[in-house]
Assembly symmetry: C2
Homo-oligomer: 328 residues x 2
DNA sequence: CGAATGCATGTTTACGCAAACATTTCGGCG
DNA sequence: CGCCGAAATGTTTGCGTAAACATGCATTCG
């Protein structure tokens, strides 16, 4: 900055004023300063700025993996909305989903230049790490039940699962089977619980639960077993990728979807409309989740009031061709 | 820091020494300082640190979208490897893929606290923005032909496409049709060119090119047309998602894959093994791409020698069930 | 026994910027 | 013609940290 000032024949303060668009700099001077900046390739040092202002205009995002569609789409929405607000996003990966891994991420976080944190992760692991969360840093969590400690944003898992079950029962199926996500996942747990509750409420029998790990492959394995259950005419998979595996398993076993068995997924990933057959699924609004995360966390940064607890983003069922009335 | 020093009854410099693990602090003093840090919840201010060191230990990543599997997996690999090296990742979204959008991203970048930049984007757009790239900041680009100006890392698109074509010709198909990605994409262009070249080299006729936008839906639309081509017995799709659309289109048109028509994809996304039928595809090593990006860019940061030009990450064909000999 | 040595710790300074305050400049008006 | 006030510009200062240098103290050795 000093070089620019010298070159433009002005003081450093004037350079600062020009660089920040402050008023009170006459046109000709401004021109000179801008010219000098250009020539010298000057760009303000954000470290010094941050030091001065005590803010980084950056939000940290802690996540375990980007390989699930939900996480990466949520992240994308967060990045976009943060950018609109003039905030950048710094990623803090948790290499291994263990207690230590999470603790490590939070430790690194403490040294990081962020004004706030959004956690996209199974909160079961977060529990252990609570203590080490740097105090004074606003935190918003996605998919958790830690709403007594943090601000939580989540898709309305319960209502989504309920819609899936009702849709299938409404088509005339006697009951609905479920392929759940991994036990560590809150989302998986919620969807499974809501599935069970809805069946019980309707007075239907609750079939044994299958479990996958969100991957299509795990859905395939579950599907091979389900295909041998003669009573199984309707399956609700906890995500679209496992539903894809189910479709393949039923195909391999000679069962026709939806004539022999109906399948409902969860997420509405972009590809799900191109499955064979196109998948009936529960649409999740990842963009809205990301938007609310950013909004909530920035409210805290600005010391504005934040309604406490969990904010739920609604879902909606997208009927496609993988569901129909049960075989006669 | 001053508070900690006061509380521990030492100077600020000693606190600094403890906090950075420097030697020359006797045990008892260290204990006291650590205790004071704990009590006061002290954590070093990274802005001040960065100001002092002139480094942020952060790499900026410019990308347009996370919705393609390739981008999000590459990003994940970059994040992981950067973390291993003690670097954080800051995301810089390009809201709209226009010249101005890219310019905007680079402008913001100039103000951002990053030591280096990795660009994951169609370089066609990057061209226009070259001028505004802050000089002195190391840049590595993924998927580009700007290797005269930047360090470039890329999957070996040409060899991958060649493997796909050879595989199909080797099975006895007379020629291979191609569903390409969008024109703006270098990767799409390279795969298409390699497909054409390989056909010509083998002395086969080159069928008209179809074009999609990477989405399954666009693959479906292309597939509906291809299904009406009586000579079309083998299709190479430029990515797995479009291949998924092809599979559905052929299914809808009553064509059996692979008996009537063979399909090869590109990427080997995790789901592709669960398509119906499981997809023969060209495996891309996104992890390796990410690793090399980080390695290259950090070499530049450290002023170590970097071999210029493009570094290519090899691919390999993964044969599954979507390809076979052509119908008799 | 005094000086030299080495180690633990303290003091000064600069990193780049912008707020707060100080000074200069210039136009307008009595 | 000189003075006032507003606008333009300059100077000082501190943000939190760590390198460089300074000090003080204990131990050791001639």
């Amino acid at each position: 900055m000093a070089d620019v000032a010298r070159r433009a024949g002005v003081s450093a303060q004037t350079v600062s004023r020009v660089s920040n668009g402050h008023p009170g700099v006459v046109g000709s001077t401004r021109e000179q300063v801008l010219a000098a900046m250009q020539e010298l390739g000057y760009r303000p040092n954000s470290a010094a700025r941050a030091l001065k202002y005590g803010q980084f205009r950056t939000i940290g995002v802690i996540l375990f993996t980007l390989s699930t569609v939900g996480n990466s789409r949520t992240l994308e929405a967060i990045v976009d909305h943060a950018a609109e607000e003039g905030y950048a996003i710094t990623l803090i990966p948790v290499a291994v989903p263990t207690r230590d891994g999470v603790l490590g991420a939070f430790t690194r976080l403490g040294e990081l230049a962020v004004d706030a944190v959004i956690v996209i992760m199974e909160i079961h692991l977060l529990d252990a790490a609570t203590v080490s969360l740097p105090s004074g840093v606003p935190v918003v969590v996605v998919d958790s039940d830690a709403d007594d400690r943090y601000s939580v944003v989540d898709t309305d898992q319960v209502d989504g699962a309920r819609q899936a079950v009702r849709h299938l029962l409404g088509l005339g199926h006697r009951t609905v089977w479920h392929v759940a996500g991994p036990e560590e996942s809150f989302a998986a747990e919620r969807r499974a619980t809501a599935w069970r509750t809805e069946l019980e409420r309707a007075g239907r029998s609750v079939p044994p639960l299958s479990r996958g790990d969100w991957s299509a492959e795990s859905g395939y394995r579950a599907g091979l077993l389900l295909a041998d259950e003669p009573d199984c005419t309707a399956v609700f998979a906890a995500n679209d990728q496992m539903a894809l595996g189910l479709l393949r398993a039923f195909h391999d076993k000679g069962k026709v979807v939806p004539a022999d068995v109906s399948v409902v997924g969860f997420d509405d990933i972009p590809d799900s409309g191109s499955f064979v057959p196109p998948l009936t699924t529960v649409h999740q609004d990842f963009t809205e989740v990301g938007r609310r995360c950013v909004e909530r966390v920035l409210r805290q940064v600005r010391n504005e009031p934040v309604e406490p607890g969990t904010t739920l983003v609604p879902t909606r069922l997208v009927p496609r061709d993988s569901t129909s009335a049960p075989p006669a």
